[in-house]
């Protein structure tokens, strides 16, 4: 498993060295604009949904960029932007502990209850 990938795929044209493996810490210059997450409401009445991310110096610029990058074909009627560093995410390693307990509580679902046929529409 030590071979480098020399295979060229579409969008992957190989390289002399494995650049991704070169350094483990992302090299970010001080001047790199902060990262923002973009959420878009596609139409009135629906929730905002994560659309992607972008770089911007402040909220106003993030908003303008979000419009240009994510809503060129009226994909949205409302945009939220939030700087990525403010997003706290659950850890995938904790997924079992967090979400498994719900699995054995089948009585939380309506299908758990058997009712006589005479009871309609419940």
């Amino acid at each position: 498993m030590q071979t480098l990938f020399r295979k060229f795929f579409y969008g992957d044209y190989g390289e002399e060295k494995n650049l991704a493996a070169e350094n483990n810490q992302p090299k970010q210059t001080i001047s790199e604009w902060p990262l923002w997450e973009v959420f878009i409401r596609s139409k009135q009445g629906l929730d905002h949904k994560h659309a992607g991310s972008l770089h911007a110096v402040d909220a106003a610029m993030a908003m303008e960029n979000a419009r240009d990058v994510y809503t060129r074909r009226s994909e949205g009627v409302s945009i939220w932007v939030v700087e990525s560093k403010y997003i706290h995410a659950s850890n995938p390693d904790d997924a079992d502990a967090l979400f498994d307990p719900a699995n054995d509580k089948i009585y939380r679902h309506p299908s758990f209850y058997e009712l006589p046929d005479e009871v309609k529409h419940m």
């Binding site: 498993m1 071979t3 990938f5 020399r6 295979k7 060229f8 795929f9 579409y10 969008g11 992957d12 044209y13 190989g14 390289e15 002399e16 060295k17 494995n18 650049l19 991704a20 493996a21 992302p26 090299k27 970010q28 210059t29 001047s31 790199e32 604009w33 990262l35 992607g52 991310s53 972008l54 770089h55 110096v57 402040d58 610029m61 240009d68 990058v69 060129r72 074909r73 995410a89 850890n91 995938p92 390693d93």
Partner: protein
């Protein structure tokens, strides 16, 4: 890392469970994806240059608006993809640096010149057509952010191919000179487009790994064949021909046979010796350097505002 993690990882892939950025993944999976996604992003960005060459000379306001919209889409594609790559732990600046220093590659196709207006039509029809062929299966790539970015990209691509074909259709019904121009553009773009799919499968020893990881779903040759079958039919509508004397329908195989691809040319272009490699890289570097003051000014403005508030 223990094999146990790798086994679980492969199990997820086999069950078509998407891998998300914070999930455990083999280093090699991460590196392969960073390379593929960032180079895909570079291709979208560099790909704006040959088309940008014709914005000011588009034959009508309509064609100019269409071309501008298409090129803006390509910028968007680059941005979706850079963002997807960033989720794997590489910074945007680092990717730019790799491109500008000539360390990272991009699609060989964008190192060819756009000599006439017909080239813009040919790019839309053939280059974007080949891109779609590759990108549609990538929408099911095992890495979530890549797959989602590709879904967005693919939604926008079909307009790119259609506008290109339609523009050639107009030329193909025009004057003798316009017809010649149309045929000439097809002649020049055809072979480089076939090269876009990458080297033949028998020269690709690592196809297996990327297929096993479901980063890639079809082999280079499979996709290339599909593309030839499609274009060989469409070119008839234009009453034009493809520059390949060996191109003919194979009843038995139910597909088109086609001639030998000049892989030496492909290698040369990838290594930097194509007709426009230097021009493209110079343009990218210049854009980056000329933009430095804008990046700094924006930072300074944001800093000043945050102190004030």
């Amino acid at each position: 890392m223990g094999t146990n993690f790798e086994e679980q990882f492969q199990q997820k892939i086999d069950q078509e469970t998407k891998i998300e950025p914070k999930d455990w993944m083999p280093q090699k999976y991460r590196h392969t994806l960073i390379r593929q996604i960032s180079q895909h992003a570079h291709s979208e960005i560099v790909g704006m240059l040959p088309e940008g060459n014709w914005i000011t000379r588009a034959p009508s306001l309509k064609r100019k608006s269409i071309l501008l919209a298409k090129i803006q889409d390509e910028a968007g594609h680059g941005l979706y993809l850079y963002a997807a790559a960033e989720t794997l732990g590489i910074s945007r600046d680092e990717m730019y640096e790799q491109l500008h220093e000539g360390k990272a590659k991009y699609s060989s196709i964008f190192n060819y010149p756009t000599l006439t207006w017909a080239d813009i039509g040919a790019i839309g029809w053939l280059v974007d057509g080949a891109a779609i062929m590759n990108q549609v299966p990538l929408c099911r790539s095992s890495f979530g952010p890549y797959a989602r970015a590709m879904v967005r990209v693919c939604k926008e691509e079909s307009f790119h191919q259609r506008q290109g074909f339609e523009s050639l259709l107009v030329l193909s019904k025009g004057t003798e000179e316009q017809k010649r121009m149309c045929q000439d553009a097809i002649n020049r773009w055809w072979w480089p487009c076939l090269m876009m799919f990458g080297p033949p499968d028998d020269e690709s020893p690592n196809t297996l790994q990327s297929m096993q990881w479901k980063i890639k779903r079809f082999s280079n040759d499979e996709l290339r064949q599909k593309f030839v079958n499609m274009i060989a039919e469409q070119v008839k509508v234009l009453h034009m021909t493809l520059p390949d004397p060996d191109l003919k329908w194979n009843e038995e195989k139910n597909q088109y046979d086609f001639g030998k691809i000049n892989w030496e040319e492909f290698k040369q272009v990838l290594q930097g010796n194509g007709p426009c490699n230097k021009e493209r890289m110079d343009a990218r570097r210049k854009a980056w350097e000329d933009g430095a003051w804008v990046r700094e000014a924006a930072n300074a403005y944001a800093a000043k505002k945050s102190i004030a508030s």
